[in-house]
């Protein structure tokens, strides 16, 4: 009797324990029995080659769809109509990327606490307070005004949901089992949320807080000296001298004087800078190629993640036949080509997010002043569910500017962000129009409908047309507007409309025979609208690209591959000779001499097999921080920023005796030459003390392709990656070529693509012909 009771209790108890998530300190383990069970747990996810050519049947589909998977597992969809095509795109995206879809829409909406608990509550609050749900609702509304957009978005959602409805818990992707939750139905609203998260990644950079504090600390004159708005030597995206064939609209707004930051603003918190993102795209006209046909290249350098941010596929219907990458969460191909044309994009450096100080009308902060009137704030009640079963309601205050931050570095400031606006038209159609585009006129028409995130779109067609057009809504600003925290008591201090789409910068078939962009400033000073931004992307890649493309002719796809992989740094080319010059007469130790001798031979190429890139990197970093040692004393609690590299280089070459090179901590007056030597000594010491010792650039700098949940074992570390953020091969520790494409508009179109999805060291590569 006792044995029966004991063994039964033990047995049932064990099943119960193994069926429950286990908390060990900060981490929660999945239910162990369920997780290890070979019929339900992670073993089910141990995939073998199981994707054969499949035929899909579903009641949501009008006609027959065929999806063939090639040897790289890329789906080729053949559908009889466009509704079915988008349905199938949703279906295969869910099949390969269901967890990514789920987690990215949850992260965008601020719904992570719901599955992962309290530790993510602050993240969720941040998302709600920056108006992600507000912006997504406005975007959805603009989409709903267009039936064709909704056909496409709803078919895509139905495809995802058709896949989900077929799943039993044992079939869930691994991450659902690890975190122990279930996939949720997709909706068009979630696509809108996804677009908002792309706007955070691409269109939310600004330095308003830092510039305001710096202006207050330094005074106008010194601020202007250290932080000029533009690099006068910059090589803009639109070729200088391009004529603007429109009558500019006059900005009816004004520029507020910068609001002195007096209310104890601390170091930026909650809206930290995102990872460095740097992308390249270009197209060369047939006059410059060996085949006589244009070649278009796209190389978006987003953060490298697992799963990849991109999803490669081929979409074929009677209305379209295109190939390229999509973003899981949105229908259509984003960067790709069809039988007649190719297109791709890089990020626009323009600032589209400003901060306004609210002038409260009462202590309770329920009323505020605007244009002499007293207005009531409005509220959005953001309910955040927590995995434990609790929920909190975060009340977010809205003014006419946008949401007001209740705490942290931006307390009392309202956010005016272009991504909160739905847009005057349904920009979901832009990519559908691109996917079907046959010529440059259709491309330009598609651009007129695009809202956000703003991008530099490059295009080429078989008629030997090449074009680069800035797509997206850009604020129509008064000169100087939006650089600093502004006075929110006058609505004229903000932009009240956007630049008419037809006035966005564009270049079509320029005389130089190529178009290109690498995130740099869009135009020269002749463009009649005010541009602010650009600081986030220095100009070296753009200028390098233009220099190479100008000198090239008889270009082949192979030449383009080499250009995409170029590790050449113009920054090094500009400053290193001056650095070497500065220490030419100095007495050096043998270690220092080794560095100098190496760099005398260096061709400014961040080749992973060489050690010179590391020498330069360390030496330059010490030089940078020694130059701006005036900033050392600023406490970490204050939001500040330092001048850009181009400013240092400009001063070093043209004003080596300026006081910025004088060290504040010494009595002597140092010049550029003096601190170059000091930096060399410090760099040598740092090199000697490196643990483990680095024998090459590739051994020193690793690049991690990180799993979206940052789980140990699921990320991939790449050693021996060449390139640098200043080079065309813009690889950093977390960013790199997330997708590469070279398309030659021959008959048939020929293309090379690189798509990093998960293979441990060597990127997948394939040739596609249609």
């Amino acid at each position: 009797m006792l044995r029966f009771i004991l063994s039964t209790i033990a047995c049932v108890g064990l099943v119960w324990v193994f069926n429950s998530p286990l908390k060990t300190g900060a981490t929660t383990l999945p239910p162990l029995g369920k997780f290890f069970s070979p019929s339900h747990g992670f073993w089910v996810n141990a995939e073998k080659d199981k994707y054969l050519n499949t035929a899909l049947r579903s009641s949501d589909v009008n006609e027959h769809i065929e999806i063939a998977f090639d040897d790289r597992l890329i789906p080729h969809i053949f559908a009889s109509n466009d509704h079915d095509l988008y349905f199938a795109q949703g279906y295969v995206t869910a099949m390969h990327r269901l967890w990514q879809l789920d987690i990215s829409s949850r992260a965008a909406a601020g719904r992570l606490s719901e599955i992962m608990g309290k530790s993510l509550l602050n993240y969720d609050k941040k998302q709600r307070r920056r108006g992600m749900t507000f912006g997504a609702e406005n975007t959805l509304e603009s989409w709903q005004r267009d039936a064709e957009s909704m056909m496409m978005l709803e078919a895509y959602a139905a495809g995802i949901n058709a896949y989900i409805s077929r799943l039993k818990p044992r079939d869930y992707p691994l991450e659902f089992k690890l975190i122990n939750y279930q996939p949720e139905e997709w909706s068009v609203y979630k696509s809108a949320l996804f677009v908002k998260s792309m706007c955070v990644t691409l269109n939310s950079r600004e330095y308003d807080l830092e510039f305001s504090t710096m202006l207050e600390m330094l005074g106008q004159e010194k601020f202007d000296f250290l932080f000029p708005e533009f690099n006068p030597d910059s090589d803009p995206i639109i070729p200088p001298g391009t004529k603007w064939e429109f009558d500019p609209v006059i900005a009816e707004s004004t520029t507020s004087p910068a609001i002195p930051v007096t209310h104890g603003i601390g170091k930026r918190a909650g809206f930290e800078e995102e990872y460095y993102v740097g992308s390249n795209n270009w197209a060369v006209s047939g006059e410059k190629t060996a085949s006589g046909n244009p070649i278009l290249c796209n190389d978006p350098h987003l953060s490298l993640s697992l799963p990849s941010i991109w999803y490669e596929l081929h979409m074929n219907s009677p209305e379209q036949n295109c190939y390229g990458v999509s973003l899981p969460g949105m229908p259509c191909i984003i960067s790709g080509f069809n039988e007649d044309a190719a297109w791709g994009m890089t990020n626009v450096g323009q600032d589209v997010l400003d901060w306004y100080q609210i002038d409260w009308a009462n202590d309770e902060k329920t009323k505020y002043h605007l244009d002499g009137e007293v207005l009531d704030v409005t509220y959005r009640y953001e309910k955040i569910e927590i995995a434990s079963g609790d929920a909190i309601v975060d009340t977010v205050v809205y003014t006419k500017w946008g949401p007001v931050m209740p705490e942290g570095s931006h307390e009392g400031l309202a956010m005016r962000w272009i991504a909160h606006d739905g847009g005057p038209f349904s920009d979901a159609m832009t990519f559908r129009a691109l996917d079907k585009s046959k010529n440059v006129h259709e491309f330009l028409a598609a651009m007129d409908q695009y809202h956000a995130p703003a991008q530099n779109f490059v295009f080429a067609d078989k008629g030997n047309n090449i074009a680069l057009r800035i797509g997206g809504s850009l604020p129509l600003r008064a000169k100087g507007q939006g650089r600093f925290i502004s006075d929110g008591s006058k609505s004229a201090n903000g932009w009240n409309r956007t630049i008419p789409p037809a006035h966005n910068p564009v270049t079509i078939n320029p005389e130089r025979g190529f178009v290109s962009s690498a995130n740099q400033r869009t135009t020269d000073d002749t463009y009649p609208y005010y541009y602010t931004g650009g600081r986030y992307f220095e100009d070296y890649r753009g200028a390098t690209l233009n220099r190479y493309l100008s000198s090239m002719h008889d270009i082949t796809r192979n030449d383009m591959q080499q250009l995409q992989q170029s590790g050449f740094s113009m920054k090094a080319e500009q400053i290193l000779p001056a650095m070497l010059d500065a220490i030419a007469d100095a007495t050096l130790t043998s270690e220092e001499q080794t560095i100098v001798d190496g760099l005398l031979q260096w061709d400014y190429d961040y080749d992973h097999t060489r050690i010179e890139p590391l020498y330069f990197e360390l030496w330059y970093q010490h030089l940078y921080y020694k130059t701006w040692d005036e900033f050392d004393d600023i406490p970490d609690t204050i939001a500040y920023t330092m001048p850009e590299s181009w400013r240092l280089i400009d001063l070093a070459l043209n004003a080596p005796d300026t006081t910025v090179f004088d060290l504040v901590t010494t009595d002597e007056k140092e010049s550029f030459d003096d601190i170059v030597l000091l930096s060399l000594q410090e760099a040598t010491e740092e090199l000697e003390s490196l643990e483990p010792k680095a024998s090459s650039w590739g051994a020193y700098r690793t690049t991690t392709i990180q799993h979206l949940a940052n789980l140990p074992g699921m990320s991939v570390k790449l050693n021996n990656t060449s390139g640098h953020g200043d080079a065309l091969n813009a690889i950093s520790t977390r960013n790199g070529p997330s997708w590469r494409m070279i398309v030659e508009l021959n008959d048939p179109v020929e293309a090379h693509v690189v798509y990093r999805v998960g293979s441990p060291a060597i990127p997948d590569r394939g040739i596609m012909m249609i």
Binding site: F4, S7, G33, S37, A46
Partner: protein
């Protein structure tokens, strides 16, 4: 002999049953088989232990082999640096303990009824 036949029966039945039911389906299978066969409690435990242990271990081993050990290596690292192959015996052990206890309960329960 009875032991071997029982453990094979538990193994095969649970292998198929658990692809239909929840993950712990092998436990009631071991319980029922041990009860019907009327093994001694000690032998029953052994039959369940080996039977379900094998069912889980073999299934995991096949999955691991067909996947070239890619996933188990990653899960192993996630679990604090276990080598990937070790997850196969760990999986077998989970099955074994559950199967053993299930069979033991089944056999003792049946003994209770018979002894009455």
């Amino acid at each position: 002999m009875k032991l071997i036949l029982t453990l094979i029966t538990i193994g095969i039945l649970s292998y198929f049953a658990q692809s239909l039911g929840p993950w712990w389906t092998g436990v009631p299978v071991a319980f029922l088989v041990a009860a019907i066969v009327q093994l001694k409690p000690g032998t029953a435990f052994l039959a369940g232990f080996i039977g379900l242990g094998l069912a889980w271990g073999v299934a995991a081993g096949i999955a691991d082999f067909e996947n070239s050990g890619i996933l188990s290596a990653r899960i192993g690292e996630m679990l604090g640096g276990l080598p990937g192959w070790s997850l196969v015996p760990v999986t077998a052990l989970f099955g074994a303990v559950l199967g053993g206890l299930g069979a033991l309960s089944g056999a003792s329960g049946m003994k209770l009824i018979i002894d009455k």
